[in-house]
Amino acid sequence: MYGLAHPHHDVLKKRSRIHQVERDWTTMFTSKIAKTLVGGLTAALVLTGCGRTDAKQGQTDKGPPIDTSRASGDITVWAMGTEGELLPKLAARFEKANPEAKVRVTAVPWQDYGKKVETAIASGDTPDATLVGTADLAAFATTGGLEQVPPKLVDDSIFYRGAVKSTAFEGATYGVPWYVETRSLFYRKDMARAAGVSAPKTWDEYRPFLKALQRQGAKWGLSLPTGAAQSWQSVLPFMWQAGARLVNKDGGKFTFDTPEALKGLQFYRSFIASKTTSPNGPMSLGEIEPKFVAGSTAALISGPWEQGLLKSAGGQSFVDDKVGVAPLPTGPKSNTSYIGGGHWAVFKDAKNREGAWKFIRWMARPDSQKAWYDLSGDLPAVQSAWTEGKLATDASMAVFRAQLKTAQPGPNTTTWKQVTAEMDAEIEKVAKGVSSPESALRRLQAKASTIGTGNRR
């Protein structure tokens, strides 16, 4: 530095290298961080000059209606995983009907796709439309980056009700359902046959059925998650089946502290307490299938994709001969299951919103839905697409179809993801026996209230 000739500096120079570094650190410590902090604070103070404008975003999200003329121009869309790899085949049909339009699909990994969508929205650098997991729609709509579905684009009554429900956020609609999935009971039908029992229809029959399978040599009757991410998707249905609603009517407040929710959680706990379910449930995807194939776990709750997984774990003959699929047993109120799947959403920063909505409208037609099922195996969200082929005749499809009619999504609130993380944590405490269901729900309610629904209404 400028003072090198200074004797004091000479002394310093003679000290060790490490001291030099250490000195840099000290300097940094006393000045750099402080300066940076002060700078950041100043910047933030400047920012606050702008402050929050409490305008409701709802109105501005709505675009003009979409006419029925042919689509034109480039339509850029994101679709995840296999859906993204296969979508161009479906899009080719759309392009045939709309020769002026070109659909450009980018296949995006499911892994961390939410980050991709959120960063794209934050920068305004988005495609026209994207596939969205049903549970993520509210989080994306929250950012203000999605356009509301134009009026009269599609008739909501053609879809499964649970699917439509998860497109709504703060009283507006942000997505068009595309495919659905729901969870039913998979069990070892060979073991059930040997034990002389048939699939349970009610909560009361549930445990005796599982115990009978356990007597056939299964270590565990039913596999349930015990705190791993997304455990809530398996526990929520128990609460619904007991009649619980988790948000109040206007969606402004969480209501976990109800007798119905408690009944559901207690029922979940009873599987573990009676050693029907392992307190150390699966932590990762793919963990449970081999145990099910080996017969050490006799039943699990899963969706349509499970058949493919069981096929690769145990072979086609295993699926044909040993796997039974039954609707979830009915609780005090219902046998409601969880509904997931994919919706289409259009970005506010879309360059070709008209083309995008027309493509989405086309994909919601029963024949397109049928074609997509043939391509991908994804279950159609449009009910009338289920009238022919395997969808109409297959026994396990009939189970999913019946389950879909009443299946429900999680509450569509801004903060749902955060609340579910708390819920997973409380589920874990209940599963491991370190907390009673009562106090778990009390804590969950307290936390959920603090977090709030985040909805602006």
Partner: protein, 291 residues
């Protein structure tokens, strides 16, 4: 390292080895080999898993040797559209970042280590600060910035943010400090300019440190997932990890066979790189200062 300790032979403990009795050496070999078995087990499992069908990979209890070995995972992987492109993208991005880090970080490292200048302490303090800020913190602002520069979906957007790293500067500065000043002084007295000193004296002497930095940078970029994921708007700019996630990770399931075949594909180039560079990498910081 200095002009006085010229004959640094192999090692500090090497001499004692000659006096070591055969049984002692045998024990050492045995211990090292046992260590290697333990260390390599998961690595071997990955390679063996890549030639198993998915059902066998997740089977419980797990087995080491494939019961029905298959190349199906690799066939599936290689049959994916654009696979070569993703591989090339990864290579291009990683190599560009390596080149940038080697050149720019050693230049800056040289200035920090061997030149006294105005603002040095401030700059270096900043480098040290940045060294410790986790990437997750700056992710969103960085994306907005790069996107506003119009660089999303470009190779520049993939490369520029990682072309220099504070870690690279820190390492190069530490290493270049080890080079005796007398060498630099001698060159300066001969009238060489700083650029010439840097190119002719410093760079040849920091081959091991450059190799270290090259491996660290390559490793980090080759495995980078989140940034290439968000910055590419079309598949043309995907790198290998993004493509592998696309192929093997579903909404509700994971194709472990494809995943492990992919992991093997990703790891092999790094192993080759390490094999090629390890000589430089390890051989001799000892050689740095003496010739």
């Amino acid at each position: 390292m200095t002009t006085t300790t010229t004959s640094t032979t192999q090692t500090g403990l090497d001499l004692s080895t000659h006096r070591r009795t055969p049984p002692a050496r045998l024990t050492l070999y045995a211990a090292l080999t046992a260590g290697i078995v333990a260390t390599l087990a998961p690595f071997a499992w990955m390679f063996l898993g890549s030639v198993k069908p998915t059902g066998e990979i997740v089977a419980h209890p797990s087995t080491w040797l494939p019961q029905s070995p298959t190349l199906a995972n690799f066939e599936q992987l290689l049959s994916k559209q654009n696979f070569e492109l993703y591989f090339l993208n990864s290579t291009l991005v990683a190599l560009a970042c390596v080149a940038g880090n080697l050149l720019f970080c050693s230049m800056a490292g040289y200035a920090f280590a061997k030149i006294e200048f105005l603002g040095k302490r401030f700059l270096f303090g900043l480098v040290l600060t940045m060294l410790i800020i986790p990437g997750v913190t700056t992710f969103v602002p960085l994306f907005v910035l790069v996107s506003n520069m119009g660089l999303s979906n470009t190779y520049l957007g993939l490369i520029l943010p990682f072309l220099v790293t504070p870690l690279g500067v820190f390492l190069m500065r530490q290493f270049i400090r080890d080079i005796p000043d007398s060498l630099v002084e001698a060159a300066r007295l001969d009238g060489a300019g700083e650029a010439r000193i840097f190119l002719r004296v410093i760079l040849p002497l920091c081959r091991p440190s450059l190799a270290t930095l090259a491996i660290l940078t390559f490793l980090a970029q080759w495995n980078n997932f989140l940034w290439p994921l968000v910055i590419s708007q079309t598949e043309e700019h995907y790198t290998l990890p993004v493509a592998l996630a696309l192929f093997s990770v579903g909404a509700n399931s994971t194709n472990y066979g494809l995943l492990l075949a992919g992991a093997v594909t990703v790891v092999t180039p790094i192993i080759l790189l390490f094999l090629a560079l390890q000589k430089h990498f390890i051989q001799g910081i000892a050689n740095t200062g003496i010739k």
